[in-house]
């Protein structure tokens, strides 16, 4: 009884609380038993290959998709209630702007639907788009459009921001700008959950990284923890005649990939792996060994059996 109560308290205090979340499409288990608690004020990156279940998880948090099993609470209530209270702001994937309305009109309209919106001018300024309030989206660059969608997401003055690949269409400079304005926004204690495929963004901006694979969470922790979890180093080399079984059969290998004619191997003991590699494939050349980054951890944790890691 006491335990149930404390669980309920956790759910009530958490920004996002997921228990036993499952969603199936046909035979595919898109989300296959996810438990997750995000505390208010956390900035969390959600990583995983395509089809890992990131977007489905995000959709269930937003209430756009109903789970087959399990519970979602956002600030202690259902997603629908949280949305109705304007507690959630989201940048969804894909183009979702109207070409026959101006930027200012769209943000104003969305603001008018919320009960306690941010002043529209504030939202435009925070997103850095006050200069093109009178323009239509079809006259904007990809990065500028993303910032319009950012303004749409934050005009409700949400406590939780959910961003699905927010910087997908941006160049490096614009991405920096975007994260700078994000940082200013979250300094006031807002919670952010963002899905991304730019690992350096997760490394730089997230307090916490969650890796998903095949509908499950395979790693969850700070960037340093996730990196340590995968351990080891990454070996890159050109290996003529390398085949899948040879590389996978090397000792201490935790993950491998063939990329641009090179072999990329994650290893928990690079000395052992390298010696074996050179014995079996003496022609290997252009060898590089790097300490594993988040990218390596990502590769290791999402490519191999998830059970051992969990």
């Amino acid at each position: 009884m006491e335990k149930t109560q404390s669980r309920a308290e956790v759910a009530a205090g958490a920004a996002v609380h997921l228990t036993g979340l499952r969603k199936q499409y046909g035979d595919v288990h898109a989300v296959d038993g996810v438990d997750l608690t995000i505390a208010p004020g956390e900035i969390v990156a959600l990583l995983g290959p395509n089809g890992a279940g990131k977007s489905t998880t995000v959709d269930m948090i937003l209430g756009l998709t109903t789970p087959d099993q399990g519970d979602v609470t956002v600030f202690g209530s259902s997603p629908a209630k949280a949305v109705a209270h304007g507690a959630i702001g989201a940048m969804l994937q894909g183009g979702s702007l109207l070409d026959d309305a101006t930027v200012g009109e769209m943000v104003t309209m969305v603001a008018s639907l919320h009960r306690k919106p941010t002043p529209v001018a504030d939202a435009l300024r925070r997103a850095g788009i006050e200069d093109f309030a009178d323009r239509r989206p079809n006259k904007l660059s990809g990065g500028q459009k993303q910032r319009v969608r950012f303004a749409v997401a934050l005009v409700s003055d949400p406590d939780l921001l959910v961003l699905d690949e927010p910087t997908a269409a941006m160049d490096v400079g614009t991405r920096r700008e975007f994260w700078k304005s994000m940082y200013q926004y979250t300094a006031s204690g807002r919670t952010v959950l963002f899905a991304t495929h730019y690992l350096e963004e997760a490394e730089e901006f997230a307090d916490r990284v969650i890796l998903m694979r095949a509908g499950k969470i395979v790693a969850d922790g700070s960037v340093a923890e996730v990196r340590a979890l995968a351990g080891g180093r990454t070996i890159r080399a050109v290996v003529p005649g390398a085949t899948e079984p040879v590389i996978a059969g090397l000792p201490a290998v935790t993950g491998h990939e063939f990329r641009d004619g090179r072999v990329v191997v994650s290893s928990s003991d690079s000395d052992v792996t390298l010696r074996a590699l050179l014995t079996r494939c003496p022609d290997a050349h252009d060898i590089e060994i790097t300490s594993i980054g988040l990218e390596g951890a990502f590769l290791t944790l999402t490519a191999e059996e998830s059970e051992t890691v969990r």
Partner: protein
């Protein structure tokens, strides 16, 4: 739902040149053309015939305007704007109601411009009660067409909606007695035309301008009400299915 939402919908509609042409300019021009070419200006019954043509073109403009909501719906669905709006307190019914209200309001320009042109240039004269009957009758009669637009908009994509709307509007125009007046129709076409809801929309207003080939206001209103119920029910059903799937 907010008035800001409805207002933006209306602004967006009037920015669409296709809408301005087909729902406003086209019915006005077609009326002037038909009234000058088909009827001799000196003929004693000129004003009476012009009034019949006026009703047809009012109905045509209103239908074009009402069905324009479908294209917007299809676009917003495809572009993910609907999903974005689902993250606001705006409910599904609120979203559709806003679209329907804006659809009703954007029918007003053709509904008022065609009679204005008819009075000024073609000498059409009708008493105040008659005008009220015609304008209000056709305007309320637009409800089933707004619902049909919202229904089609949930099936079509942003690209397919233009041809779909075009085919449906032209079908209503040719077969439903708007472009070819029912007076000039061969018997078999007159029979076919009664399948089209547009036929019944002109029958709403026809008793005011002529006593030929009228069905009576009550029958017309009843048939349109049934069309409205069918389109409305199908539209809501489709919306529920669609939003459960996304």
């Amino acid at each position: 739902m907010s008035t800001t939402y409805v207002r933006m919908e209306i602004f967006r509609t009037f920015r669409n040149t296709r809408f301005v042409f087909f729902a406003i300019a086209f019915p006005v021009l077609l009326f002037l053309l038909q009234a000058t070419v088909f009827v001799n200006a000196d003929a004693p019954d000129h004003a009476k015939v012009a009034a019949v043509l006026m009703v047809n073109m009012m109905a045509f403009g209103t239908i074009s305007g009402a069905m324009s909501v479908g294209a917007k719906l299809a676009f917003e669905r495809a572009a993910g704007w609907q999903r974005q709006l689902r993250l606001t307190p705006l409910s599904g019914p609120g979203y559709l109601t806003g679209k329907a209200i804006s659809g009703m309001l954007v029918t007003l320009p053709p509904l008022l411009l065609v009679p204005l042109v008819a009075v000024v240039f073609q000498g059409v004269r009708i008493d105040a009660g008659g005008w009220l009957h015609i304008v209000l009758g056709i305007w309320l009669g637009a409800i089933p067409f707004v619902l049909l637009g919202l229904l089609l908009g949930q099936f079509g994509t942003a690209d397919s909606m233009q041809p779909v709307n075009m085919v449906v509007t032209m079908g209503m125009g040719f077969l439903g007695g708007l472009w070819i007046p029912i007076e000039s129709m061969p018997g078999w076409l007159h029979t076919v035309s009664q399948v089209m809801p547009s036929y019944w929309l002109i029958q709403i207003a026809r008793p005011v301008v002529t006593s030929d080939l009228t069905t009576g206001f009550g029958t017309a209103a009843g048939v349109l009400a049934i069309f409205g119920l069918v389109f409305g029910a199908a539209m809501i059903r489709r919306y529920r299915k669609d939003s459960a799937r996304v």
